[in-house]
Symmetry: C2
Subunit: 304 residues, 2 copies
């Protein structure tokens, strides 16, 4: 626990703060030593900041500490904001105190910048570092914004957010394999869908949704299936399939729209261009879908 308390995030430091004393915290990205000047880039959840120390004006203790920093170390820096056109964001921090909360060991087990590729095994073995990869960080942020957009859309369309039990007594959808749980003296299962609970709830609230984990005990052979995942699940009384399709079309368009606006930077990082789909979506009958697949060389028997 550092004695220095963080006062600002990287993104909140602007040229308007010139001369102000601030404390920022984050991870060391890159370090350069030009002899008389040492600087490093610190990054946090919101962005990056350059910290620049000149040997002539910095306390020797602080100057030395910068020299011994390693990439990805966790540091807190107290200093003054200085306008610097060549720095990212047009500002830098002139450090007065530096606290190293955690010194990263070199060499790192993987390169969080992603320039040097790592195997999945290495990435999972050093997941903390792996999560610092710009693409991984962007994915988490896009996910946050997506869930927020879904909730906003559903709430403003009269849906109530609910949470249903995950430990259940029986299967809710036939055919799905379940994970057994030892529930004290009895056998229970992990829920593979909120289905039955949602149906009961619509008997009172009409429109409900749940965003929560579901569990499927299938032994999948593809990397596209997970045994545990977060589902977005809605249920509406008085609605036929046409109304449900219309609602979901609107939901998808609203989410694309909002994510496209709010996650502009993150989408650039992951290399995805979102274009909000037009409503109504093209509709295919089951037969048309089978025919389309067959044209592409995939033959699915009717009813499979």
């Amino acid at each position: 626990m550092g004695r220095l308390k963080i006062t600002h995030s990287s993104a909140s430091i602007t040229p308007a703060l010139e001369g102000t004393k601030v404390t920022v915290g984050g991870f060391v990205k890159s370090i350069r030593d030009l002899g008389g000047i040492r600087f490093f880039v610190l990054y946090d959840m919101e962005g990056e900041l350059q910290v620049t120390a000149s040997k002539a004006t910095t306390r020797p203790e602080v100057f030395t500490k910068i020299g011994s920093l390693t990439p990805e170390s966790t540091v807190v820096v107290e200093g003054r904001v200085k306008v610097a056109e060549q720095a990212p964001g047009g500002v830098e921090i002139v450090p007065e105190r530096i606290e190293v909360l955690s010194q990263a060991v070199v060499p790192l087990p993987l390169d969080p910048s992603g320039r040097i590729k790592s195997t999945l095994e290495t990435r999972l073995g050093a997941r903390v570092l792996d999560l610092r990869h710009p693409v991984r960080r962007a994915i988490f942020k896009i996910r946050h914004i997506t869930l927020d957009a879904i909730r906003k859309f559903l709430s403003s369309n009269g849906f109530l957010e609910v949470h249903t039990p995950k430990i259940v007594a029986t299967a809710t959808e036939s055919g799905a394999a379940l994970f057994p749980v030892a529930y004290f003296e009895r056998e229970a299962f992990l829920s593979q869908s909120p289905q039955l609970y949602k149906e009961i709830l619509t008997g009172c609230f009409q429109k409900v949704f749940e965003i929560g984990p579901i569990f499927r005990a299938e032994e999948f052979n593809t990397p596209k299936h997970l045994n545990e995942t977060i589902s977005v699940d809605i249920e509406a009384a008085f609605a036929d399939y046409e109304e449900v399709m219309q609602l979901l079309e609107k939901l998808i368009a609203a989410v694309f729209q909002e994510v496209g606006e709010r996650a502009r930077e993150e989408l650039k990082i992951v290399g995805v261009k979102l274009s909000t789909p037009k409503i109504p979506f093209e509709r295919l009958t089951y037969r048309e879908a089978l025919e389309l697949l067959e044209k592409k060389g995939v033959k699915v028997p009717w009813g499979e």
Copy 2:
């Protein structure tokens, strides 16, 4: 599935819509038959609406159908809006078509209005009806608004929403009992806290929160403990206990404030008066807390 499509919620029908044809859906609350006039109150998630039919002007088929309605039946009503000062909300519906989607059997297993008390067993046995009790409905709405307020506060304070695995390999907090899960050929457990995952995530995102299920296999003897519950869990890097307390104080005050405003009606129904607590909260040391308990006749040994 009804052929009539709902166009309005009860709350959206105002005197301004006089003469407009609308379709509403919901549950039958009360029915009165005055011979030449039959009316019933229909309620949905947002409120109540009176449906009034006069024998002289209503199609006989519709008039007869109203006569055979039972309380808590699910109906869809198409009709015209009519300003009626004596009706709740100042409007009523003059019905032209009525569709009974589900006719409730009389007598009902319990009284959803709550005037006649039921045992817990009866309530759980007819949970659909039990959920229609005004207090139960209010609780679900307050819960929705509370979660929304928590998310808004945390997101605007730089926290990222995450979801962590619920099927885990080991215990995260010593002492807590776990539910074993048969995970294919291996033994796994249900997560009793997102702790370890949150800690890893703060090594990249600094501030995260999760709202999701946690599982505790303790055999509780009180009705205040649950083996499965939804936890609101935050984790912040660079924060000491003082900063965490300050954040949580602000969170609680913000949620009280917002719920107090947005759930005014529902709080009245459950009979709760919320007054937003003042910040900072009174602080007690551990020793002071023990002394206070002892004064109230509860002796807890140091460290228990």
